[in-house]
Symmetry: C2
Subunit: 215 residues, 2 copies
C-alpha cells in the first residue's frame, strides 16, 4: 500500500494527491499536522522519514520519496497511464518549466517556515506578511500567465487538452492565491484552466476541504 504523508493545506501535498487521483492509484493518507504540537513534521519520527521535515513524503516500494515534483515524476514513470508529461522533449521541458515556475519560484518563498521566520525572527506583522505573500504569488502567477497565454501549445489545460504535471501544480497555487485574496484579474488563462480542472473529480477530491485532516 502506498502511504502519503500529507497535510490538508499543504499545496505540495495537494499536487501529489491530484496526481494519485488522476492515475487512479489507491493510497493511505497519513496526516502530519504542521501546526499542532509545535509541528508534527519536526518530530524525530518524521525527520527519520524525511530529513527535510517537509510534506509530502510518499512511502512505496520500501522507500520514502520526498519532494512533490520528484514524486510526480516517479508516479508518471511507474504508472504511465494517463501520462502527466507529453511524449516530446520540448513539450516535456515546457510542462516542467511551468510546474517549476510555481514549485520553485512561488511556493517555497511563501512556505510556512518562511512566514514563521518573517513573523518571528524579523518581527513582521500580519499585514507585512500578507503583502509578502501576495507579492510573490502575483509576480509569479503573472509570469506563468505569460508563459501560458503566449504559447499555442496551451489548450484546455496548461499543455494540450489533458490535465498534466503543470495543472497539478497550478490548481493548489490558485487555491492559495484565493485564500490570501491575491489579485487574480490579470490571469485569465490561469483562471480558465484552474476552473476547468475544478470540474474534474481527481482535482476536487484532492482539495483541502476533502481531506480527512481538514479543519
Amino acid at each position: 500500500m502506498i502511504r502519503l504523508y500529507t497535510y490538508f493545506r499543504s499545496s505540495a501535498a495537494y499536487r501529489v494527491r491530484i496526481a494519485l487521483n488522476l492515475k487512479g492509484i489507491d493510497f493511505q493518507a497519513v496526516p502530519v499536522h504542521l501546526v499542532r504540537n509545535g509541528g508534527e513534521h519536526k518530530s524525530a519520527d518524521y525527520l527519520a522519514l524525511n530529513p527535510q521535515g517537509l510534506v509530502p513524503a510518499l512511502e512505496t516500494d520500501g522507500q520514502v520519496l520526498t519532494q512533490s515534483l520528484a514524486i510526480l515524476e516517479y508516479l508518471d514513470e511507474t504508472h504511465p497511464d494517463p501520462a502527466l508529461l507529453p511524449a516530446d522533449p520540448l513539450g516535456r521541458a515546457r510542462v516542467r518549466a511551468i510546474a517549476q515556475a510555481i514549485a520553485c519560484d512561488i511556493h517555497p518563498i511563501n512556505n510556512l517556515r518562511v512566514l514563521q521566520y518573517l513573523g518571528g525572527t524579523l518581527g513582521l506583522d500580519q499585514a507585512a506578511k500578507d503583502d509578502w505573500y501576495r507579492h510573490w504569488v502575483e509576480t509569479g502567477l503573472q509570469a506563468v500567465e505569460a508563459m501560458l497565454a503566449a504559447d499555442r501549445r496551451t489548450g484546455v489545460f496548461c499543455h494540450g487538452d489533458q490535465p498534466g504535471l503543470a495543472d497539478c501544480c497550478l490548481v493548489p497555487q490558485v487555491f492559495n492565491a484565493r485564500r490570501f485574496n491575491c489579485d487574480l484579474t490579470a490571469l485569465p488563462t490561469i483562471m480558465r484552466i484552474a476552473e476547468r480542472c475544478e470540474q474534474i473529480d481527481a482535482f476536487n477530491q484532492a482539495a483541502p476541504a476533502q481531506q480527512p485532516d481538514f479543519e
Copy 2:
C-alpha cells in the same frame, strides 16, 4: 547552435553550464547582467524570451527553454550520454529529490529578487540579510547532508560513482554557501562530494570565475 542566457554568478545558470560541459555540448553564452542597467533580465527583450525574467534560458530547436531543472532534464533526454539520471525510477526519484531540495527549498528563497525585497521593501540591513541567507542555506544543506549520509546509494557523487543531476545543483549551492561564509562544518558528505566534483573540468569550467562575463 545552442544559446545559453546566463549570468556568471547565477547558480541556476551554473547548474546548466555544468550539465552542458558534462555532456560535451557546444553552446554560445549570452550574458544577461542581473545588476547593470537596473537588471538586463528585466528588459522588454529578455522578458519576451523568458516572461519570468530569470536566468538561465536555453535557446535550442527553435524554442526557448526556461527553469534550470527542466533544461537539465531536456538535455538528458536529448543527449543521453553521459546520463544525469539513473535508470531505475526509485533512483531517479532520489536524485530529483536531492536536486529539488536545493533548487526549490534553498536557492529561490535566497535569490537576488528576494534579497532586494528584504533590503528594499522591508528595509533590512546587510547583517539581517546575511543572517537570512545563511539560515536557509544551513538549514537546507543540513537536510541534504542527512539525505546523502543516511543512504547507501550515495557514492563518490550524490548518487553512485558518476556525477549527475544532483551534483549539478550541489556544487553551485556550495559555491554560494562559501561566498556567504555559511557554516559548512556539519556537512562532511556534501563537502567531500563537492570537492570531488571540483576536480572535474566540466564543473571547473562552469564556475563563475571562468565565465566571459565574470567581474
